[in-house]
Symmetry: C2
Subunit: 610 residues, 2 copies
Amino acid sequence: MWTKLKYWLIGPPLPTRDLGEKRLGKFHALAAFSPDALSSIAYANQEIYLALAVAGSAGLILTFPIGVAIALLLGLVALSYRQTIYAYPSGGGSYAVSRENLGVLPGLVAAAALLVGYLLTAAVSLTAAVEAIASAFPVLWSQRVGVALLFLVIITLANLRGLRESGMLMAVPVYLFVASYLAMLLYGLVRLILEGPGSLNAPAPVVPLTLALALRAFASGCTALTGIEAISNGVPVFRPPESRNAGKTLLVMALLMGLLFVGSVGLTQGFGVTAGAEETILSALARRIVGSEVAYLIIQAATMLILAVAANTSFAGFPRLAAILAQEGFLPRQLRSLGERLVFANAILLLAVATGVLIVLFGGDTHALIPLFAVGVFLAFTLSQAGMVVHWRRERGPGWWWKAALNGIGAVATGVTVLIVGVSKFAAGAWITVVLIPLLVLLFRKIRGHYDQVAQQLSFQTPASCTCQSAAPRVVIPIAGVHRGIFDAMAYSCAISQNVTAVYVELEPGAGQKIRAQWKRWWPDVPLVVIPSPYRTIVRPLLDYLDRVDGEADDGQLATVVLPEFVPAKWWQGLLHGQTAWLIRAALLYRRRHLGFQRTIIDVPYHLER
Amino acid sequence: MWTKLKYWLIGPPLPTRDLGEKRLGKFHALAAFSPDALSSIAYANQEIYLALAVAGSAGLILTFPIGVAIALLLGLVALSYRQTIYAYPSGGGSYAVSRENLGVLPGLVAAAALLVGYLLTAAVSLTAAVEAIASAFPVLWSQRVGVALLFLVIITLANLRGLRESGMLMAVPVYLFVASYLAMLLYGLVRLILEGPGSLNAPAPVVPLTLALALRAFASGCTALTGIEAISNGVPVFRPPESRNAGKTLLVMALLMGLLFVGSVGLTQGFGVTAGAEETILSALARRIVGSEVAYLIIQAATMLILAVAANTSFAGFPRLAAILAQEGFLPRQLRSLGERLVFANAILLLAVATGVLIVLFGGDTHALIPLFAVGVFLAFTLSQAGMVVHWRRERGPGWWWKAALNGIGAVATGVTVLIVGVSKFAAGAWITVVLIPLLVLLFRKIRGHYDQVAQQLSFQTPASCTCQSAAPRVVIPIAGVHRGIFDAMAYSCAISQNVTAVYVELEPGAGQKIRAQWKRWWPDVPLVVIPSPYRTIVRPLLDYLDRVDGEADDGQLATVVLPEFVPAKWWQGLLHGQTAWLIRAALLYRRRHLGFQRTIIDVPYHLER
């Protein structure tokens, strides 16, 4: 029944030979890699607006200049990554580039930053998607957590099925978003020129405009750049010539990002748009330009869809990176295994749970999540660019100096941004990321250390301290009575060993006498030991007995315990029998785990037919 | 740590030799057996009042006559039970008497009625105790569920410790209650005579006074009789001459019950006392007689304490009856086992959970629980008295006819009461008991049927269909790689069998080749089978392989599976290893349980040292 439900939800297993990615043309590749990058304007705008609005109209006047500064940073980062694409045609994620050029530790820092970034992309995109649609339908505003979790469940199931991110399913929301926004911005620009700028009906200033405030607004707006590195990870997916096509696609994407971002920021300031408490600034802008009719609804729907698709890209990127780290022993091995549907199901579930926890903890509020976001993303940018500088220096190809300089400028610019974001947003939540990333790096190293130790202990080169028993084992078989249920277990014990002892724990004084008499009739040659149990527990006296006989034996091995196990015909019948075999097994396993008693356990079942 | 907490809460284990009950004198015996019976006036009065108050003053006038009718029934039942005490000096619970004289089915009906009665005594006494104290401190009224559950936890822990019901701890609340109530009633009677009857300030009638209403009030008041049978269960605890002492104690108890009941009912009507929404009628009566000062608080505290002690008596009676039923195979065997503290811990926990559920479901409201109560109690009375009639007829001792007649009248009176209660309270909740008792009887029989079948299957007389393997087993050992971790398992397998096969499930195409080469170096004589797994699961191909080789083998037995199990040094390390051995074990056990594959499993541990 569980299997049926599972098949219905995520489909039947797929054979390994179905693995292998389809190559993508530029049109589909743009749709596959850009949702995160393009959609980030949705929350970046909002953040700049919220950061400046507290300083009233004096603050909001800075909207456009800050937007332009971020767009310049965007151009710089895009050019830097274009060089990575040419240098690493096999895929140059921040982890790979940092690790190869800077060393293991910077690589792990980049990996931690990326994992945190993926997690926050998923959480922020989902909450922003809900806020986009809740701006149009305010009744949803108070239900943001629930709706975001619903989206999360749908995306998780789709990814467990093995949704391919290259499908038309992705292309529709992306191009719908680009087309509707470009049309809106163009129409808005025409109206702005015809009608002249609107008067700003700004909220009253709460704090004065300071440099710190402006920097905070800049730091908030930098979330617009998140996702720009996606193409550099996925170069091998492009049709040949891969690097050329990927580079072109990156430039088109960066151009679109810049256009949408600067355009929307500019029009917001031009029209003097402000937003209410339960509406995003982009929703307010769209209402201002096209009214609250069908066009507005299309724009909001497109925003919601591209944000949902952006969250989805985390579900592709996070598991892939986790699998690479697991392969190298820095994360649990289970994250490496391809599930029945050829996806990294464990990592998908891990990301889904973590995202759900974040959404609930932060009440589905994008604005509360954003301060955690940019630190990780820009740290990965910085490490990746710094790695590229080292790469060019090592290669010393033609014109290496210029290339290194461009990546160096990128590294410095993004590095400065990390500092600005980290400091200006520290108390608001960036501290969480600042603490989390080193902890993750420590965790990676701890895990790798364990795997290294295990590998050493498992290798045959290590001198063996084990007791390689070639002699037949001594067998102890605890019995609860003399009946058919122990018949198979006795036969088995006698078949594998000449040294078999049965043990009866006597709960009621005198019961042992009766058992001994019955025993003699059936197995006169097998010794039966009766242990009194003054406290009426079975496990403790049995363990004491085992310790005693192991101490007395001179073969240096621990006795094997044979457990005659009662297998009832129906599950409820199990409730009617004391789970003694189960208790003994649990106690033996506990001692194995915690005290190092390496005792072998044999389960011999006796099946009840009715 | 868990052990320490357990010891602190319920104490260290007690040896079996500590078992054995102290004999009780009449003074302590009355305190031990009467709390349930005496305290039931607390809720019986309240129920009569609530039943009649809906008909206004016309209804409340019937309070005293109904009280007298119930007192007459009480006298009759007490005399009936006195005869049981003499006939069954070894303890004549309703179950034992019904079963011996009427047969197994009536015995089981009585047992089911008794178990339900114990459960409801616990729940009703606790809620009534809370209502008694909440009448004095109204702030507790809205917290009744929480306070009742707190009482329940305390009583449960005390019983798990092994509280002896004979201690002074019991005598204090009982005699405090009797003394304070008798004093209050006497003082009230004097005041009533001196001051004359009070005017009744009754609530306006909601329904007219009908015979049905009067019967309903009578049915509600019959809960006053609950607990009267307790002494007949415990005759052997009395000092010799047991029956004589027990009989006298019963009469004293019945007299006290009658006095307290009729006295309080009479004074309530005499003073024309009515109760508010958040007060019991007995609290209102006490306030009317002694004012709201210290005397009143003592009376309410005594009421609360005796009710708590009454709940406690269920925790002695229920486990004792459950153990008898378990001993005879009508309930799961686990209810029979004396725990570390020499109490039936499983039954105590079962009762505690069921009581807690009842309290929560009924919102801690005594009035809502009462309709479920009397049916079970009076059904047990009826069966017990009917059984006594048969008993006397069989014995035909001197004057048997008169004794049979008295018990017969008792049986008819209580039987009629069952009908009155069942019908008049059916919709209000009695239907739950009416449905529950037959279901319990069915359950008893089903459980007994299973144990009978098991005993038959386990007996050596049944011709064996088992494959009593005396030949050495065929061994299959699944391996995840060639390393030190499988060394012990291989040595063990070779020690117990000449027929060992290793199996490697190949998740990545080509991996098998490498494993095979390594294998040849270490175990050239042991065959290694490589099974491809196109869907990357380990369990399914392994099970298919086992089925195949079992089918091909001609020895008619199933192969033994040896699982090399990785025992990490620290618990968290377990998270870093795919639980493959665990998954295989789970799949094998599932097949054992549900498909009847009786395969032996051997766990050979490999202990990691770091």
